[in-house]
């Protein structure tokens, strides 16, 4: 068995656990250590694990959506949450609070901050995916871009 295969297998096992952990951080964040930002970072770390195991193709296969779609969706969610109070005549970013008692889980408290935090989470995950998209593919062997850029710096833009 190749050493690479062991890495791939163990990463696949860990990946989902880390992802669930990141979502736990997101939802627990209001009362315990965590929050959208940390949750997003942890999810990003999970993505990084997949990258180590399978490269950029594996990262791309994680989501049906493009990285920038995720990023934009996050920004949109946060922006809408911020603007939503305007609809009921309250100032921007005014937070509401709701306590619902569900049959099995019991009393669940929800604040308007949660969708905002979900937006932050999505933005961070989208950012990580975009950086992998930008820098994650293998540099070409014959003409690595760094060398091309260095040449341009030395000789100007003329060939």
């Amino acid at each position: 068995m190749r050493p690479q295969a062991i890495l791939e297998l163990s990463v696949r096992a860990i990946f989902h656990a880390v992802l669930v952990g990141s979502i736990y951080l997101l939802f627990a964040g209001h009362n315990q250590p965590g929050g959208g930002f940390v949750g997003g970072l942890v999810a990003g770390a999970a993505v990084a694990l997949r990258y180590l195991a399978g490269g950029i193709d594996e990262v791309r296969s994680l989501s049906r959506f493009q990285p920038w779609t995720i990023l934009g969706a996050g920004l949109f969610t946060a922006g809408c949450t911020a603007g939503a109070p305007l609809l009921v005549g309250a100032p921007v970013l005014d937070s509401g609070y709701l306590s619902v008692s569900l049959p099995v889980i019991g009393s669940v408290k929800a604040t308007a901050a949660l969708p905002f935090d979900i937006g932050v989470y999505l933005v961070v995950v989208g950012l990580v995916l975009m950086v992998f998209e930008a820098f994650g593919d293998e540099p070409e062997d014959d003409a690595p871009p760094g060398v091309v850029i260095a040449n341009v710096e030395e000789h100007g833009v003329e060939p």
Binding site: K109, V124, P145, V152
Partner: protein, 824 residues
């Protein structure tokens, strides 16, 4: 009033959005706005003529004292009459002038409606900042209208010129508004003018306001955009650039002059001086033009100068007389522009050297042109004459030094007006019929396919001309409106009694002198033309504008060359040194040293601190980028450990997560950079560079260290964090204070931060793709050379990595272009 403005906005955006589907029916949609405005004005007229006003107040930004204060008084009524009255005529005219189809039609009509609404906003605003908002809206709609034919470079350049000049003036005006408003303690126009403030700041503010008015009303030396704006379709020129938008500056001067002309010493010399120069110079330029539309444009510049003089003088009689001029000018200038548009539309030219002789079927057009041009020249029986009489009378009676000089200047300017009015009529209708057959007819084929204009095409202009004639014959019809306008500008103004015959008084004599002088100018047209031809050698306003723009570009290029030299170490060095040195200097001069803090709070800190310091020094000393990045990661984890020791698990968690990710991403990027540093920070052989780096690093570390200790020990106020900790659970419903601060108390900051994150992510992808495209290009080049090995260097496509920055085109292009060029 607010509903009226909203109606214009809805109709305008609707016409822009669905104009392509509506076709010519968009006009019917657009004209609703001005018609409703006129009906509404008629309903309020009774109250206005009694000297009352209509006020509306809607709170907008109460924190800044900005409210949507709208006010319709006598003078505003005159302006609404111009904006909406001429507006209806222009819409009716545009129905025949514009081609029936095309997306451009709906857009043009929508923009005209939006402009009309913005202009109403300008004249109805009673708050300076609201007025400024509408003012800039007219600039923007005007920009879009001038550049309506966006495929023409000339139209785009003219639109940009108008936008740059008028919005630069608008910014000056905004600064002036702020100065004047602060001094007065209110931004409410009516309150401010009723109790005008004084002082140096107010004087400076008034000069700035006047500059804004000068740019908008095309006064020298800011006039150059107005002739350029003639590339716009004729309905636009007739509406914006003669009857309405350019009157915004005049409107502003009219509002401010009665309150400030007598008390502020610079006002009259500045405003009246600029107005006189504009009146004379614009008139002389008009006498040189061959393009009828340009002739009218320079005539407009000249007439605007006249209005600025009248309102700038600021005496009650002068501003009242100015109102008559305002109405008279709008009527005859809009009609004349429409006539030029008809000529252009039917004959295909508006050059008075090429116009064909016009036969039967042109009688109505000729009559309209005759009436309107006679009004422009100030001949009796027309409204222009009444206006000129009033103006002369008001200036002769004005009580300020040099008023006779101003009077003489306006008489001279009016002679020139007479001369270019005659040039217009002669060139358009008389000269073509008398012109001998062109011997070079083959070179310049005569335009002889002159259609006769349809009745409905001439009708709007005819209505305006009829207004000019009727009001010229029975001027007392305007008494009530003009008196109300004068009183609303200056409460001490008496009512006027406009009449064709005032008796043999000075104004009548001066009118006679004007007409006689004008006739002399016409008679001596040839020698005067030779003298005026030298005017072509004087740098024009456009030359000044182009030179200023070029100078700005060159200056910016030089400055960029100095400031942005492209070296990352220099950038970071400058940024860090500035960030450290400025607070450091303040700390040195005014800070007090609170004494050393306890060196070690708990024994666990010691190993962590040693680890951090060791890793930091190592990061600066190692030769490989990869190792440096890993050592920086160690520093970050060390910080997380410190947080744990201090009992802040939340911060530690965040720090560790960030450190993990940033190390991974760091390594990703480092794969593309050379393995080793070219110069190692701590082992550089270059003495100067190394010394500088050490100095910058030392300054930063010492400042940050001192700042932390001094800031944390000198807290006079109760820290804000205490309140946040208290309020987190009851108000934010969360026990994690950090998170509650992030998403609730400081939610706006977080929103801003994630926006920055998004921008950074887009930037990173764009940056990476530039490099990738360059690589693809280099590969394609190598491939091309392989196909045709005997290809000499330099024939292949230029391998410009920098091209990716300039040309944001598709990814496929660099790869496909070479093969096409090289293929034998």
């Amino acid at each position: 009033m607010l509903a009226l403005l909203a109606l214009h906005a809805v109709l305008g955006t609707g016409a822009v959005a669905f104009g392509s589907r509506l076709g010519r029916r968009a006009l019917a949609v657009g004209v609703i706005g001005p018609v409703v405005a006129l009906v509404w004005l008629a309903a309020q007229l009774g109250r206005l003529l009694d000297g009352g006003s209509v006020d509306e107040h809607v709170s907008w930004v109460p924190g800044l004292g900005i409210a949507l204060d709208l006010r319709l008084d006598g003078f505003a009524a005159v302006m609404v009459l111009l904006v909406s009255g001429v507006g209806v005529a222009v819409f009716a005219y545009a129905a025949r002038y514009l081609p029936a189809t095309g997306e451009a039609l709906g857009r043009l009509i929508g923009l005209l409606t939006l402009f009309s609404g913005a202009m109403l906003g300008v004249v109805l605003s009673d708050n300076l900042l609201v007025l400024y908002t509408f003012w800039e809206l007219t600039s923007i709609t005007s920009y879009l209208l001038i550049g309506n034919d966006h495929t023409k470079a000339r139209a785009r350049a003219a639109a940009l010129q108008a936008l740059l000049i008028t919005s630069a003036g608008g910014l000056a005006m905004l600064a002036g508004f702020v100065l004047v408003g602060q001094a007065a303690g209110t931004f409410r126009l009516s309150a401010l003018l009723a109790d005008p403030p004084g002082g140096t700041a107010v004087t400076v503010g008034l000069v700035l306001v006047a500059v804004g008015a000068f740019t908008k009303s095309a006064q020298y030396p800011f006039h150059s955009w107005l002739p350029g704006a003639m590339v716009a379709p004729t309905p636009v020129s007739a509406y914006l650039h003669s009857a309405t938008m350019v009157k915004a500056g005049v409107y502003l001067i009219a509002r401010f002059a009665p309150a400030f002309a007598a008390t502020t010493t610079v006002w009259r010399p500045l405003v009246v001086g600029v107005g006189l120069v504009t009146m004379l110079a614009g008139g002389l330029r008009a006498m040189r033009q061959h393009d009828l539309k340009l002739l009218l444009a320079f005539g407009t510049v000249s007439q605007l100068g006249f209005m600025v003089v009248m309102f700038g003088v600021g005496t009650p009689e002068a501003v009242t007389a100015g109102c008559v001029l305002l109405v008279a000018h709008a009527a005859f200038k809009a009609a004349l522009f429409m006539v030029v548009g008809i000529l252009d539309h039917e004959t295909g030219t508006r050059d008075l050297r090429e116009l064909p002789a016009l036969g039967r079927g042109w009688g109505l057009t000729k009559a309209v042109a005759l009436i309107s041009a006679a009004s422009m020249a100030g001949l009796p029986l027309f409204l222009g004459f009444i206006a000129k009489e009033e103006d002369y009378g008001a200036l002769a009676d004005a009580r300020f030094s040099a008023h006779n000089l101003v009077l003489a200047g306006t008489v001279l300017g009016s002679m020139i007006s007479f001369a270019y009015s005659a040039r217009f009529l002669w060139g358009a209708f008389v000269a073509p019929a008398r012109r001998p057959p062109d011997p070079f007819a083959d070179a310049h084929p005569p335009v002889d396919h002159a259609h006769t204009p349809a009745f409905s095409f001439v009708l709007p202009a005819a209505v305006l001309a009829a207004f000019t004639l009727v009001m010229g014959l029975f001027p007392s019809l305007l008494d009530g409106l003009i008196s109300a306008a004068g009183r609303s500008l200056d409460a001490s103004a008496h009512g006027v009694h406009l009449a064709l015959w005032h008796g043999l008084e000075l104004p009548l004599v001066l009118s006679g002198v004007t007409i006689a002088g004008g006739c002399a100018l016409v008679a001596a047209a040839r020698p005067i033309g030779r003298v005026l031809a030298t005017g072509a050698r004087v740098p024009s306003g456009s030359d000044v504008y182009v030179a200023a723009l070029r100078g700005l570009n060159e200056g910016a290029t030089r400055l960029t060359g100095v400031v942005q030299n492209g070296s990352l170490p220099v950038y970071t060095g400058v940024i860090l040194f500035t960030a450290a040195a400025l607070p450091g200097a303040v700390l040195l001069t005014s800070g007090s040293w609170p004494g050393w803090p306890r060196a070690l709070a708990s024994p666990a800190q010691l190993p962590v601190a040693v680890l951090i310091v060791g890793a930091a020094v190592g990061a600066a000393a190692v030769g490989r980028r990869f190792s440096a990045a890993l050592l920086l990661g160690v520093v970050g984890y060390g910080m997380a450990a410190l947080f744990v020791v201090q009992g802040a698990p939340d911060l530690a968690l965040t720090q560790a997560a960030i450190e993990t990710l940033s190390t991974v991403l760091f390594v990703l990027v480092l794969r593309r950079l050379p393995d080793r540093f070219e110069r190692r920070p701590l082992r550089s052989r270059l003495g100067l560079g190394r010394g500088l780096r050490v100095v910058v690093a030392g300054t930063v570390s010492v400042t940050v260290f001192a700042f932390m200790i001094m800031a944390s020990s000198s807290r006079p106020a109760r820290p804000v964090s205490a309140e946040m900790v208290e309020r987190a659970l009851p108000d934010g419903h969360g026990r994690n204070v950090v998170n509650v601060i992030l998403v609730d108390f400081r939610g706006l900051d977080t929103l801003g931060e994630i926006t920055v994150l998004a921008a950074a992510a887009i930037g990173a992808v764009a940056l990476a793709r530039v490099g990738r495209r360059a690589a693809a290009l280099a590969e394609a080049l190598a491939e091309a050379r392989g196909i045709a090995p005997d290809l000499p260097d330099g024939v292949g496509p230029p391998a410009t990595a920098g091209g990716g920055l300039v040309d944001g085109g598709g990814d496929g292009r660099p790869g496909s272009a070479p093969s096409g060029e090289v293929a034998p």
